[in-house]
């Protein structure tokens, strides 16, 4: 019996989204499952954005902090360091210092940081809040205004605060990340609500919520696969925005990226363990459907880029 390749053709396609200006990035646009270039078109390479934040990374593990020592005390310097030293293709600025339980920085301070970072770099910028729904709706409005016309990605809009954030992204010509918690229906519903405000669905990015290897990875993995299948096989336009994997934040707080080798010898070398934890989580997100990743450790990013080189 001769073998006939069981190829699939899909009715749907992932929207192609761009960010930044002169040195911009383009991601999404494929009409097949992730990396399935043998049966369709995969026009763009996934993008990895280095993560920095508005306050020094005191709560990051030493393994990661050491990579940015000397640069990470100032957001603009840190941003430039990623761009120049690591040749970052995109950057994520997390305004974690605005969280009320943290430094509780003001919206004005956040806007100032955004302006400083933007003037230090020429690569695209993703601007995230502190994940405090109420505070984010003020902070991200100020950030979106400060970054007007830089074609940034603003996030994350959630069920509780999407209206103000989506309006600000729309008014200032940005893209928008819509995040819901590990549920394909919630994700779909949020995308519908946002588009009903008049926000163009082709400017959206879906965040189904990331989880780290060993800490619910399989939930994110399967939700992403289901979203992508809905986009392709059912041609469900609401599910067709590209997906982001916010990897670093979830990975670098789990025990496996922190425990010293002397305490748990069976787990092996801490530095390598942390890096591979982030890289394996990232690769799973890519294989499940992420087109854009947010990561922290330069060596993990390098390993994932090498993996992508082999996949395209």
């Amino acid at each position: 019996m001769a073998f006939t390749e069981p190829k699939e053709t899909y009715t749907g396609k992932v929207f192609q989204v761009s960010a930044g200006t002169d040195n911009g990035i383009v991601f999404g646009g494929e009409n097949v499952l992730p990396f399935h270039s043998f049966e369709g078109s995969v026009p763009n390479r996934p993008v990895i954005a280095y993560e920095i934040q508005d306050v020094p990374p005191h709560d990051w593990p030493e393994t990661v902090k050491a990579e940015y020592s000397g640069a990470s005390n100032n957001a603009a310097a840190w941003a430039k360091y990623c761009q120049d030293k690591f040749k970052a293709k995109a950057l994520t600025l997390r305004l974690i210092g605005t969280h009320p339980d943290g430094e509780d920085r003001t919206t004005e301070e956040a806007a100032k940081t955004v302006r400083e970072v933007l003037s230090a770099i020429n690569i695209p910028l993703i601007i995230l809040g502190s994940n405090h729904a109420e505070k984010d709706s003020a902070v991200l409005v100020a950030a979106a205004e400060a970054a007007k016309d830089s074609n940034c990605v603003i996030g994350k809009a959630q069920e509780k605060n999407y209206k103000t954030i989506a309006a600000a992204a729309m008014a200032n010509n940005h893209k928008l990340i819509a995040m819901s918690e590990l549920d394909i229906n919630l994700s779909k519903q949020l995308n519908i609500l946002i588009t009903q405000m008049g926000f163009d669905k082709e400017r959206l990015i879906t965040d189904p919520m990331c989880s780290a290897l060993g800490y619910g990875l399989e939930y994110t993995y399967s939700v992403m696969e289901r979203i992508r299948l809905a986009a392709l096989t059912q041609n469900d336009a609401v599910m067709q925005p590209p997906m982001v994997g916010d990897v670093g934040m979830y990975v670098w707080k789990v025990k496996e990226t922190q425990a010293l080798e002397k305490d748990i010898p069976q787990w092996g070398i801490l530095k390598d363990r942390g890096i591979i934890w982030e890289a394996v989580t990232a690769v799973c997100m890519l294989v499940a459907g992420s087109e854009i990743l947010i990561m922290r450790h330069p060596e993990a990013i390098k390993a994932v880029e090498q993996f992508i080189d082999e996949m395209i």
């Binding site: 069981p6 060993g214 993995y221 070398i269």
Partner: protein, 447 residues
């Protein structure tokens, strides 16, 4: 592809003799289609029908076991392409390569790493499952010697005997009789001889080709030579090829019931860079490799791959659970806080992780709620004041505490009154709704 009841009925004697215990042949056929009856119940069925039904009811990916005894590993039997549809069945086997050009000392060192690789995670023992001995030397005496070293030092660890040379293969098989190794190395030029060895020594045969067409022709040929237990290698080595071939193989087997590729897949992930190798293995675990052969098994790499395999092969319909008990985080004293939550593994991981982040030593009482998260368990009546009170009382934890104070999740604040009634002498404190509020909450209390 499974046959319908009507299709099966056409193959039966249609005598309605009732010997099978069913009133009619049609009723029996319907039961067969639903796999609620066995064809053996019919005494008059023809050999031809047995053959057709046997093939149709065989799993789309043939089950293969390598090794013998308690460490034997089973592969195949997969039924879906995506893990949300149904549980992936037999977890990927991790093997490490040993080259027979290595010194005895080097071989011993790798075997020690294999034997020392076991890690316990959420109650499962995870380890490097197998050793793949490669005949790089092209010398069959040395190959047999290397196999003997492994057998002597690691009795019980399943073997993959990797060579395309039939003399070397036979030398190795002689040494490994009764160990049910996988003989990997049938190709277009040695297929007959390898099939004959596999038959003589009664082992599974690995078949290698350089594309899916030649692989198909080769597995059909080998099956024709009487070999049923086959493991396949399409020759895919780059990540892109692995994803393409593994996807096409799994689709052909499951959606087209294409028997010639309905076998477990072996993937060689070798890279000079250990991290990149781990990522190639990651792709293999997610996308349909049944055996992944690695060139190195560093502990950090093992931990990541074992955890990944556990995640991907989890049953999507059954939440992962942790054991009901009082977990000690840090080194709690009699004055450290006591918190209660449910035994959904994610809930446990996230809550315990945040407690660790707070650097405040504490006790976390994890209650068996059948793996449901806090809100779901509460809604389902499994995380109620009466049940929590019973759990806390029976745990005997109060003897360890100076203050009888229990912190409950903010989402079930509603339970605090009822809990104070059911737990006389205890003070109930409402904690944050989300685990990420715990560090601030605990630090404030400790201050």
């Amino acid at each position: 592809m499974a046959l319908s009841g009507i299709e099966i009925f056409k193959l039966l004697p249609k005598s309605n003799c009732k010997k099978c215990g069913h009133p009619t042949c049609l009723a029996f056929a319907m039961k067969l289609a639903q796999r609620q009856a066995s064809l053996e119940a019919c005494p008059d069925v023809s050999e031809e029908t047995k053959r057709i039904l046997g093939e149709a009811s065989a799993p789309p990916v043939r089950p293969i076991t390598i090794g013998a005894g308690s460490r034997a590993v089973k592969m195949g039997e997969e039924t879906v392409l995506f893990r949300h549809e149904k549980k992936f069945v037999n977890p990927t086997v991790f093997a490490v390569q040993i080259k027979d050009t290595m010194s005895d000392e080097e071989i011993n060192k790798i075997i020690e790493e294999v034997l020392d690789s076991e890690i316990d995670r959420i109650g499962q023992k995870l380890r490097i499952d197998a050793v793949c001995i490669s005949n790089v030397s092209k010398d069959s005496n040395r190959f047999q010697q290397a196999v003997k070293i492994v057998l002597g030092k690691a009795p019980g660890v399943p073997l993959i005997i990797s060579t395309t040379d039939t003399a070397a293969a036979e030398a190795a098989l002689k040494a490994a009789t009764d160990r049910k190794p996988l003989l990997y190395g049938a190709n277009e030029s040695n297929a007959e001889a390898m099939a004959s060895l596999a038959r003589t020594y009664n082992v599974a045969l690995g078949v290698t080709a350089d594309n899916l067409n030649t692989l198909t022709a080769l597995t059909e040929k080998i099956k024709g030579l009487g070999i049923q237990d086959i493991v396949i290698d399409s020759g895919a080595r780059s990540a892109k090829e692995i994803l393409r071939d593994n996807t096409l193989i799994r689709r052909a087997a499951i959606k087209k019931n294409f028997k010639a590729l309905g076998y477990p897949v072996i993937t060689f992930a070798f890279r000079d860079n250990a991290k990149l190798e781990a990522l190639i293995a990651t792709l293999g675990v997610a996308k349909y490799s049944s055996i992944i052969v690695l060139s190195s098994i560093e502990k950090w790499k093992n931990l990541a791959l074992f955890t990944l395999r556990q995640n991907i092969y989890t049953d999507p319909q059954v939440p992962m659970q942790v054991e009901q008990k009082i977990y000690r985080i840090g080194e709690p004293t009699a004055e450290s806080p006591l918190m209660v939550t449910t035994n959904f593994s994610l809930t446990y991981f996230i809550v315990s992780g945040e407690i660790e982040n707070s650097k405040v030593a504490a006790r976390l009482a994890v209650m068996d709620c059948e793996g449901l998260s806090v809100l779901t368990a509460w809604a389902a009546g499994k995380f109620t004041a009466a049940k929590i009170a019973q759990f806390i009382q029976e745990s005997g934890i109060e003897d360890e505490l100076k203050n009888r104070e229990l912190i409950i999740p903010g989402y079930v604040a509603i339970l605090s009154g009822a809990l104070e009634e059911k737990l006389p002498g205890w003070k109930i404190v409402v904690g944050p709704r989300e685990a990420n509020g715990l560090p601030a909450f605990l630090k404030t209390r400790a201050a």
